[in-house]
């Protein structure tokens, strides 16, 4: 994997006004980079801001503050029409709900070809059809699926149609927003394997957003953990799962159910509350504690984490 940055997110803030003049800080000062060809996992519970982060990057929301770069170009805020146009080809998204993500009134061929139609990428009807058939085959479906409507497909098949739609414009970067959490276990593996195969064959880069930590660990090269709009820890996925430092990461890892009754009977859950942090004296910062291992902590906590790492190293 090259260490070339594809996506750079700097101090991203996404606030939403809600009724009563209140402001919800869905994403609050989040920074991370995604390298070319890697899978970057983003985990956290509902309301942690992980999905909002993805949607802000792809410009579904106008960001409140901060900056997003793609291929060394600023893509947040006001940008040119041409850049916008090329971004809609180069960055694509896969969605969570296989039932809501396909227009029930459109045939599969028209759903998948939408990118071609919008960007006028197919010169003839023939070419359009051929490209759709080809992509259907890539995602494990057949040309006779093309003229059917979404409601005739199973959840896993629909999700693959969603993937086909995202792939047709030949994007470089795909944001997968909880792509498997609405699917059955046996189908999850199908979709994850497909995503991995595509990544290798087409050289894609993924932002994989999920709350299922075992799947995120499995598919991701690096993982960021979000809590209440903030990144609290970021590391290589093996490193994060072997040496979790932030108490929230530890709590999250301790709660993953494993398909092993004996392990489950002996599992100790680690509870987490924000009260474990004492930020009255000093505010936490986003610090690189080891090369590639970032954590949100203040100096006192950092010293504590250093100790933990040192004792583990022995």
């Amino acid at each position: 994997m090259s260490k070339e940055k594809l996506v750079e997110v700097k101090n991203l803030k996404q606030y939403f006004k809600v009724s009563g003049g209140q402001v919800v800080k869905a994403v609050d000062d989040v920074s991370f980079d995604i390298y070319k060809g890697e899978v970057f996992g983003l985990v956290g519970e509902s309301g942690s801001g992980k999905s909002t982060t993805g949607r802000s990057i792809i410009r579904l929301y106008d960001i409140t503050d901060g900056e997003v770069k793609f291929d060394n170009q600023v893509i947040s805020g006001k940008i040119s029409k041409e850049l916008k146009r090329s971004l809609t080809r180069e960055i694509q998204m896969i969605f969570q709900d296989p039932y809501a993500c396909l227009n029930p009134r459109m045939k599969v061929i028209d759903i998948i070809a939408e990118g071609l139609d919008i960007h006028k990428l197919a010169k003839t009807k023939q070419e359009r059809q051929e490209r759709v058939y080809k992509i259907l085959e890539i995602v494990g479906l057949t040309p006779d699926h093309a003229n059917r409507f979404p409601h005739e497909f199973s959840g896993g098949q629909r999700q693959r149609i969603g993937i086909a739609r995202a792939l047709i414009t030949q994007p470089k970067f795909i944001i997968a927003d909880e792509p498997i959490s609405a699917l059955d276990v046996s189908i999850q593996a199908q979709v994850v394997n497909l995503m991995q195969k595509l990544q290798k064959e087409l050289g894609l880069t993924y932002l994989f957003i999920a709350h299922d930590l075992s799947m995120v660990k499995y598919i991701s090269d690096r993982v960021g953990v979000m809590y209440h709009g903030k990144l609290v820890e970021l590391a290589d996925s093996d490193d994060l799962y072997e040496n979790p430092l932030h108490p929230y990461t530890k709590s999250l890892l301790s709660a993953i159910p494993e398909p092993d009754p004996i392990y489950e009977r002996n599992r100790q859950r680690i509870p987490y509350t924000v009260d474990v942090h004492d930020y009255s004296q000093e505010q936490p910062e986003w610090v690189e504690i080891r090369p590639g291992h970032f954590i949100r902590a203040n100096k006192k906590e950092l010293a504590e984490y250093e100790k933990q790492l040192a004792s583990k190293a022995k």
Binding site: G155, Q157, D184, V185, I187, Q190, V192, Q196, H211, S214
Partner: protein, 345 residues
């Protein structure tokens, strides 16, 4: 005597396209104080079967054949009023989405009291005392204060606790939990599962736990039933199903979950479940089964006995069937069980 017995249950739905055979001959039973997990993907019939037990099938669904016996009475033959008494009384249910199972305009205390008054036949004052006890039991702090609050003042996990309290208020003998933690975050899920186990210890209620998450099953279940395309394919104690599974579908389910140390390509079950408008002739899983025998396509395998408590419907258990190697994860689970000194009970 078992709390609940389901015998040869067949359920169909009438649709525009024809009859959908959602449940096609299911047998199981539930004992006092035990948790039976029913695992399967959407469309496997797991929710339909349990909704039939509650008597809340969708209007186009009907029980075609079979018996559901609760405390010696067959509920498929009950009248509407009898069913209503039983629902909530003998059997209570908790659903996936706690928000839609609560009345948003009613104080939660009152919602818990309603069931207590109806099914335990006690006065208002007594019901209030019991309701507050229940709130304490499900782990809600300051129950007297919380008693006066509305559902929107609670978080998702807290709401699911209240739903559990309401269900328990009816003093049920059987509690059906339909994916009760699927909508919750992992950390909250772990808390709710702990709570349910704790309550079961205290009250001895029999629980049917429907889920598609094998991790959750490993955590809560005493026995596990695996459903596919409207039929049970394997049933046994939790140890038997996890450490000595026999049906290739169970293998597929176990192997397609990544464990924290899995690498390489995930095992995946190809294809899609069958359309139950056109139920297949043999084993419904055969077209997706890499260990399928020719016979699987021809003839429905019977429930072969593996042990007194463990049964599986696959022709692979025929004495003259070829021996096959299950996926690596399944073999590893078998091994690890021996290493941990486990004995299949």
């Amino acid at each position: 005597m078992a709390l609940l017995q389901v015998k040869d249950l067949h359920i169909s739905f009438k649709t525009n396209a024809g009859e959908v055979h959602a449940v096609r001959g299911v047998n199981f039973e539930l004992d006092k104080g035990e948790t039976l997990a029913i695992v399967g993907e959407s469309g496997s019939g797991k929710s339909v079967a349990t909704r039939a037990i509650m008597g809340i099938l969708a209007s186009n669904g009907y029980i075609k054949h079979g018996e559901i016996i609760v405390e010696g009475k067959d509920i498929t033959k009950m009248t509407k009023t009898e069913l209503e008494d039983m629902r909530g009384g003998e059997i209570a249910m908790i659903f996936q989405d706690p928000m839609t199972s609560l009345n948003p305009t009613m104080k939660i205390g009152k919602q818990i009291m309603e069931g207590i008054i109806k099914h335990q036949k006690v006065s208002k004052e007594e019901a209030k005392v019991k309701a507050i006890e229940l709130l304490t039991l499900v782990g809600i702090t300051n129950p007297e204060l919380r008693f006066e609050q509305y559902p929107h003042q609670f978080s998702g996990g807290m709401r699911q606790r209240i739903v559990i309290a309401i269900a328990l208020g009816c003093n049920p003998k059987v509690l059906i939990a339909d994916e009760p933690t699927t909508a919750l975050d992992v950390t909250i899920q772990a808390q709710i599962l702990e709570l349910m186990k704790d309550i079961q210890k205290k009250t001895g209620v029999g629980v049917i736990f429907i889920t598609h998450d094998l991790g959750v099953v490993a955590n809560v279940a005493d026995r596990v039933a695996v459903m596919y395309a409207g039929r049970l394919v394997e049933i046994g104690s939790s140890n038997e199903v996890f450490y000595n599974s026999q049906h290739p579908y169970t293998w597929g389910l176990l192997a397609s979950m990544p464990s924290l140390d899995s690498d390489g390509e995930l095992f995946s079950i190809p294809g899609t479940p069958p359309n139950l408008l056109y139920p297949p002739k043999g084993d419904a899983f055969a077209p997706r089964n890499q260990w399928a025998l020719k016979l699987d396509f021809e003839k429905q395998p019977p429930m072969f006995k593996v042990s007194d408590t463990h049964y599986a419907a696959t022709w692979l258990l025929h004495p003259n069937a070829p021996k096959v190697e299950p996926p690596a994860i399944v073999q590893r689970l078998r091994q690890s069980f021996g290493e941990k000194g486990g004995v299949l009970d």
